[in-house]
Amino acid sequence: MLTFTVFLLFLCELIVPCAHIHPESSVVQIGSNFTAVCVLKEKCMDDYHVNADDIFWKTSRATVSRDQYTVINRTSSSVTFLNIPLINVLLTCNIRMFGQINRSVYGIRIISGLPPEKPENLTCIVNEGKKMMCQWDLGRETHLETNYTLKSEWATEKFEDCKAKRDTPTSCTVDYPPVYFVNIEVWVEAENALGKVASDHINFDPIDKVKLNPPHILSVNNSKELSSILKLTWTDSRFKSFITLKYDIQYRTKDASTWNQVPPEDTSSTRSSFTVQDLKPFTEYVFRIRCMKEDGKGFWSDWSEEASGITYEDRPSKAPSFWYKIEPSHAHGTRSVQLKWKTLPPFEANGKILDYEVTLTRWKSRLQNYTVQDTKLMVNLTNDRYVATLTARNTVGKSDASVLTIPAWDFQATHPVTDLKAFPKDNVLWVEWTAPNEPVNRYILEWCVLSDKSPCIPDWQQEDGTVHRTYLRGNLVESKCYLITVTPVYADGPGSPEHIKAYLKQAAPSKGPTVRTKKVGKNEAVLEWDQLPVDVQNGFIRNYTIFYRTVIGNETAVNVDSSHTEYTLSSLTSDTLYMVRMAAYTDEGGKDGPEFTFTTPKFAQGEIEAIVVPVCLAFLLTTLLGVLFCFNKRDLIKKHIWPNVPDPSKSHIAQWSPHTPPRHFNSKDQMYPDGNFTDVSVVEIEANDKKPFPEDLKSLDLFKKEKVNTEGHSSGIGGSSCMSSSRPSISSSDENESAQNTSSTVQYSTVVHSGYRHQVPSVQVFSRSESTQPLLDSEERPEDLQLADNVDGSDGILPRQRYFKQNCSQHETSPDISHFERSQQVPSVNEEDFVRLKQQQISDHISQPYGSGKMKMFQEVPAVDAFGPGIEGQVERFETVGMEAAVDEGMPKSYLPQTVRRGGYMPQ
């Protein structure tokens, strides 16, 4: 027992705090001042050797400034907070033990908030069959837990409080059933830690706050006697047995969106049915109804469920729209006329249309009647004027007749409408016009979609003659071009139609124009494009924009009027690739077409011609002038280019040459040991025989080949200068001249190895020709050559001079002839044999075609070439052998070719 007591004392000591704070817990109003006092217990003060000076305050771990402390006495310290904000903090009283150890000894929670405001706008409602519910406005936020209690009482009795739920503090539904015709007083009390406030009391009879259940419509019945009424019956609240109700009845046609109201004074008393009047025949009407207390106190019930009924039929109230169309007819004197009419809308048909009755009357003829269930009738009419009437019939009766005059075929329509306009507005397409001066019975509006793909299938509608503005009552679609026609109809027939195009709603083109170049110049390009098809325009094309750019350049845009189909881009750069595209714009936007590229040319058209032609002309002129100059100055030119070769005939070498070193003359090796030649002689060997040369002529053949290979390096006797020039014609003529000058008195000399013109030969050799043989005898007697040719052509014997031919084209016979003649004079058996044999062998082949022989000779050229440059030395060796053979057999023949220049001669 003692132990237990000690334990209790210990526990008490543990749980007994060292201090306490007054007040224990506090809810403080925002904006007020608050003071808390911490009182230390004596025991703690003794145990920890502290007093009030050691107290310090904290709010949620933050130490309160000592300015706010007040040491009241040895045990108590207070802290004061001024103008408390919105807080919810823990305020602790702390002591500092032994000067350094802090310890919390007590704490309280401080919550700030506001007292509740007086609830306002208290209202109550009693839904029929449910309990009363009241609601109110809370006022400002209190930041504190606030209870709202709805209180109610009779004059003699108090009801249980209705405590608002936390989540719906602005309303409360009482627990007791409503009792009508007893005033009840209701108010709301709001209460929290900072105060309690009650709303104003409201006193009312719950019957004045009732919201009845909506009536239930039982039926909507029509009347055969009156096509303009419907009787509505309903059941409504049981309240009608003890209170007076009033009703609100609304109705509308089935397709309408707005409601019509039955006059309230007609439904201000309790009832269960009502007959609605002034309705349209054969029209479906929708009704709804609601009710409330007759005196207007309380609330309207919700609307009842809708109920509908159809009024009874009546005769059509209007004549149908009536029009016609003359079809092309092949029969003479008659017309196929399609009469067409519109079905009456329900509000004009007043019932189900059973059929239409059409009558046609021609002047002084009987009436034709047609009964049609369709809305069109095709009739064949003469070219006369007709009057057609149309009536629609339902179960009750017929409509008024619609009269249409079909004029005679030669009728001239006049008096069209003016100022025809069409514009979209409120999602419909309006048409407006100015009426003609003549009285118009009615107007016919026709319209169709313009399309490149489908034909124009018109729709139409009729308007009264007094109408000058209407909208098209068809299923129009957006982005389609409509061609609208307005035709006034007069008493004697239709007037002239007027047309206009319009869109219900435009859009950007679905496709852009395709641009292309019509002409591309150096600095400009003509672009052209086609107008967009109407199917892709989607609106009126207002303008085009051409965008063009180079590969690296910025894009340039050019606006072009929609009426244009081509445009010239100027200031372009030549020889540049341009990319161009085009956009078409309607009022609603644009669409780009495909991109097109083109390159501007480097030169403009004709520019090249302008440059080349003058240049060519100048060149030709210069050439011509040059030729003329050369022609005029040919002697001077010849003197400079081809200096006169000393005429051997006038040479006096023989006189001044001391002796003739024959060996020098004939031995080329001795004379030019280094193998250089100062002049060239070419000997042409010509053969018509295609057959290979016989063996005994091979040496000659080789000789010929060697001549070909060594052309340009051989030196000829007789001062032949043809080969000294690359212009043989001039050389030839010069040589001719020279040959003529030498005549027969010139002695052959040895080779005069002197430099050509100012060239100094390496070896100065002076020799004198000891020969008295006339030089270039053939040139002095060309008739011999002709004779030889004739002989050659007549007896097939190739003249000897054809074997060796100097490469001087115009005088090729001269050396040959001289050679021929010289050959005859040379007393050498071998030489003669050789020539004879050669001549004989060639003559053996003379019968063969010359051309083929020529071909044979060409075939031999590759054989020569087959030796190639690599065997040039060998060829020269053959040449040398040939020469040596000639030398060995006798005195060297100075007129024979000394060397054969390679390449200087080609077989002809």
């Binding site: 009482e153 108090k158 015709f181 009879d205 049981r238 047995s241 003890f242």
Partner: protein, 199 residues
Amino acid sequence: MRVRVVPLLLVLHWKQGAGSPLPITPVNATCATRHPCPSNLMNQIRNQLGQLNSSANSLFILYYTAQGEPFPNNLDKLCGPNVTDFPPFHANGTEKARLVELYRIIAYLGASLGNITRDQKVLNPYAHGLHSRLNATADVLRGLLSNVLCRLCSKYHVSHVDVTYGPDTSGKDVFQKKKLGCQLLGKYKQVIAVLAQAF
């Protein structure tokens, strides 16, 4: 004949469906209401009577229908308005007298309706429609009683009215309970029509 005088305020605290009549506790008449009575009090009383009258017959039908045979076919024998101790009403009396008599009748009906409701919840526990109508009628009677009291108090300064109650049915057998209930509702239908006419 058992006639008991019931303190007025106790009557006001009568709860519907009470099993037994309220205890008789004499109280000194100090007429006071919680808040002023409305000016249209008599009109409200008339409306309440009309409300009760409009539903009395249907309540009667609903009751005997719910009791089953032999009640529907023997209404005259079983449901005749043979309530011996029903408070009298004199329609030609003064308003005060009529209000006092009305007060007694309503108190009697209220107590009896409480007994019937209690018995029917036992005898016909699934006749919710009947229960609901009985409760609604009792609520209306309760409101009517409040209005009459308010009128008597505010205008005629009547602090208390002697009232009587019908027989206690708690000890009766089932048939007797049904029969007494049916007789009471028959009487109620008859009386309420008179009262509705009287005011």
